[in-house]
Amino acid sequence: MNISDQKEASSPALTDCQAVLHILGLWRRQAPRLIIGVMLALIALCLGLVLMQASGLRLASSVLGEVVITTALLRWVGGGRVVLRYAERLFAHDAMFRALADLRVWFFHSLAQGAAAGLGFRRAGDMLSRLVSDIGTLDGLYLRIFVPFACACLTLPILVVQLGRQSIALGVAVGLLFACSAFGVPYLIARSGRAEGERLGKNLAALRIGVLDLVGGLREIRAFGAEGRILSHVQADDAALLAGQMRLARRAAYANASAFLCGQAAIFLVLLAAAGLFAFHLSPLAVVGSLFLTVASFESAATLTRAGLQAGVMGAAAQRVVEVAAHTPDRKQSEAQTEAPAGTDIRLDGLKFRWAPDRPLVFDGLTLDIPAGARIAILGPSGVGKSSLAALLLKAATPEAGSITLGGEDISHIRADSLRRRMAWLSQATHLFDDSIRANLLLGRPDATENDLWKALEEAAVADVVKTLPDGLDTWLGEGGIKLSGGQGRRIALARTLLTQAPILILDEPATGLDAQTEQEFLRTLNTVTEGRTVILIAHRLTGVETLDRIWRLSGGVATAAAA
């Protein structure tokens, strides 16, 4: 919607940090699992360090004629490490994927909150990219950043203390190298990779939009012979994505190499100490222990270097995910807490409305009375605002001035879901889902019986068509109802609207796609099936068979009564 688009442009961009914190807040439900995952990782790490150091010491200490490390200890530590490492990885990944599933649900929920009027200028492909790829990337936040970071924070003091006991200079030097490899290099890489990471997310979304456009527009493309052009267009998006990935891969390679060099430098220092050079004087036994400990520690630091590279990508991904919720409009409507009243009289008073500040006014002082149970028609050429009226009634859009009341209650005070249970809208954009006819109908009333379904199909003049289908109600409709003709699909949507138990029906051109004869029959049925409900028939013309209480003609932003 224009309105949301405006807001998106004006609201300040979140920083990566805020976005990541927001995501962490959403993971609260999985916090115990996530924390246990970190704990297990830390214990597994300790055992790994002990194992490496112990096997070296076991050999070296035998020289002194005493067994410092027993075989049994080695076995226990070794076995424990294998088991713990397996358990830790399994547990941490499981916790993470639970958190991601939660995040996906939250994402769809937030998206649905502000989408009563559709996606507006957002592209479905972009949303899909956020749900799938961006949220998928965020697993690294925990698995590749937090867990290794916690491990590195534990390793550093152990390393410094163990080495420092032998030689303070060596401890400090190796400790610095470790900090450099585990924190310094990753931080620098993360900072420099930020822009690239953001571009990566956008490029992937652009590719997805391009591919979806290509797939969705296959008819147009074939009809216009545009295969070559569209292909090269998508391949340009692809090339942009791949070029960015190549730049990131090159950086990753350098990062890996530099982390490796840090580790080797530390070993180099230990070796120098062993050779008795500089200020490092170690006992031979200590040299062996230090060497093995150093080798094992730096192995874990290398993971963080790679994580640093992905941190930029993850920050950008977190932003793209959180953005959707942050820019959801209708925030101010959360104060509306009243249930819809029992009465269904509708009154519009002095309504002013436009879709965006830079667009012309659709309504300018519109006043309209629709008593409960009335059957009215609203007529006018396309573009006069008939659909905008429906959007306003359902709170899919907010008026600039004026008020709409339902049963005497201003609808801005009524909760949107409560209001929408009162009104069913068959719009021009009503969507048929890639599901069975039954599932599509049940969306209107989940507890409808088989008889209810057939009755609604009967009323919508489509039961005969469904009966001839081999699978009847269980026929798969295909994407956008592709398995049926346009007119038939439209009537399924109409049946879905009639099936709802809402006391107010807003039917926007319900007879579209019907030939003249069927249209008349259908409108006659409509006169009887909607007995007792308010019917707002939005149409460009009348056929003469409708029984109506009142007819309004929209023009110039106001409604004038026409002869009924």
């Binding site: 200490s61 076995g79 996606l119 591919v211 891969a249 396309s382 249970r421 081999p470």
Partner: protein
């Protein structure tokens, strides 16, 4: 090393320490080079594969959409191909190295400490065994995981496209829950893969720990024995060589571990390959010269005894239909919804081929005409035009990107697009939302008409072009179409009352059969 008491430390040469530094630098350089070249191989392969997948989809054309959700097709082209990265960047190098690298390490070990080499060799040999066992499970799990992923994506895409319908029906909570179930299924499938993958890497860990402990204990025992006999060069040798072997053990297992990690990449690649093979074969577009084309000025269309069935269970969509439209004339196809009008359009567009009978342009069977030549001859306007991501101008120029400004403006004027331009914030440069958001149905249809003007093809196919329009808009759209129809061969499918604005033959269809004809059709 000055390990053994009594042997002074400084007696050791310092050069190996510096050789170590040099070799470390060299190794870092080689690592960086191998990483970049692996990434490059992965990227090249993906570029090529994505191109092939997209060409396949374009070859399959609109008929593919009846079988497969567009979300699934997009998943194949985007995510399936992305998942192949691991195959080229990780699996290929790992599978080349996993035998050679450990053997290379084993050789010096065998030279220095034969018994340690035996231990390492035996422990290493158990790894492929474990991989074979776990690998089969991994392949199955990976296939299931990708299915779950595809289902989640297709479901989400479909629900997002119809999100307003869901929200307004008050079903957002239910749908959120269903999406939650799909996400949960994805988690379970993913965990199944990981369980297998982690087990296989745990088996490697296990082999490594056994090797470490065995070597340490064996060498330690030997050293104790030697020590009991007093100091000797043999003791020093046992100690230094033992340490050397211990330090090499992680290196020995590293390639094996890389192989285990890359194993799921291989499984992903297999899954992707299956999905890609299910697509129609990518056909290179035949060059126009040599193949048959039809004289572009004035085209006669004829259907001869054409039958077509979408779904055998539902009976034929077209049942022995014949008619002729002479060059420059108009044929009106009438009939209720579902009577076969759109099927005739799809046949004329070459999206589908008749089961029997033939479609001819100037007497030439449609399937003998190259697709490029055919698309150059035909303009088509459907019920709702697909508007691509981009501006209004780009969407009109889609019909002929090389059109100059004068041609563009002429088309804009002829299609009466200029009448609503002032109401758009950026005129022709206004960006269009998904499904033509920001435009009314009539405005979107005018863009389609402008495309047809710009394309200037001799055949015009109109498939209920005013189905979603009110009479006033319909009348003015028909007026634009009347001007467009001049001197072209037109097939107009409609059940609008305003169709009398078009003079021409008329064919009435019912359930796929011609029921009445007017004029010489």
């Amino acid at each position: 090393m000055g390990l053994v008491p009594g042997v002074p430390a400084y007696s050791l040469p310092v050069w190996p320490v510096f050789a170590f530094a040099g070799l470390a630098l060299l190794r870092a350089l080689i690592m960086a080079l191998s990483d970049t070249s692996a990434a490059k191989a992965g990227i090249d392969a993906r570029r090529r594969l994505r191109g092939e997948v997209l060409t396949s989809i374009l070859t399959g054309g609109p008929a593919l959409l009846r079988k497969t959700h567009s979300g699934e097709l997009a998943t194949i082209a985007v995510d399936r191909v992305e998942a192949l990265d691991g195959f080229f960047a990780r699996w290929v190098p790992a599978s080349a190295l996993w035998i050679a690298a450990p053997i290379l390490i084993l050789l010096p070990v065998a030279f220095i400490q034969p018994h340690a080499a035996l231990v390492l060799g035996l422990c290493g040999a158990t790894v492929p065994l474990g991989q074979a066992v776990f690998g089969i499970g991994a392949a199955v799990a990976s296939r299931n995981q990708f299915l779950a992923m595809t289902r989640l994506q297709a479901r989400f895409l479909d629900r997002v496209k119809g999100i307003a319908t869901i929200v307004l029906a008050g079903r957002a909570e239910d749908e959120t829950q269903r999406l939650g179930q799909a996400a949960e299924e994805l988690r379970q499938r993913t965990m199944k893969i990981l369980r297998v993958a982690f087990l296989s890497s745990a088996s490697i860990d296990c082999a490594m720990v056994v090797a470490l402990v065995l070597v340490a204990v064996m060498d330690g025992r030997q050293a104790m024995l030697l020590l009991a006999n007093g100091q000797s060069p043999a003791l020093t040798y046992t100690l230094t060589s033992g340490l050397f072997v211990l330090l090499l053990i992680p290196e020995f297992f590293a390639p094996l571990r890389a192989l285990a990690l890359a194993y799921q990449d291989r499984a992903h690649a297999q899954g992707a390959a299956t999905a890609i093979l299910d697509l129609p074969e990518a056909l290179p577009r035949p060059s126009p010269d040599g193949a048959r084309t039809v004289n572009a000025s004035g085209v006669m269309i004829s259907l001869e005894d054409v039958s077509f069935t979408w779904d055998p269970a539902r009976g034929p969509a077209l049942d022995h239909v014949s008619f002729t439209v002479p060059a420059g004339e108009t044929l009106i196809l009438a009939g209720p919804s579902g009577s076969g009008k759109s099927t005739i359009m799809e046949l004329l567009l070459g999206f589908i081929q008749p089961d029997s009978g033939s479609v001819r342009l100037n007497g030439a069977p449609l399937d003998s005409i190259v697709p490029d030549a055919l698309s150059r001859m035909i303009s088509w306007i459907g019920q709702k035009p697909v508007l691509f991501a981009g501006t209004l101008k780009e969407n009109i120029l889609f019909a002929r990107p090389d059109a100059d400004d004068a041609d563009l403006m002429a088309a804009v004027k002829a299609a009466a697009v200029d009448q609503f331009l002032p109401s758009l914030p950026d005129g022709l440069e206004t960006r269009i939302g998904e499904g033509g958001f920001g435009l009314s149905g009539g405005q979107a249809q005018r863009i389609a008409i402008a495309r047809a003007y710009l394309k200037n093809a001799p055949i015009l196919l109109l498939d209920e072009p005013t189905a979603h329009l009110d009479p006033a808009t319909e009348k003015s759209v028909f007026e634009s179409l009347q001007r467009l129809a001049l001197r072209r061969t037109v097939v107009l499918a409609t059940h609008s009352a305003a169709v009398h604005m078009f003079n021409g033959r008329r064919v009435d269809l019912h359930l796929g059969r011609v029921v009445t004809r007017q004029g010489a059709a």
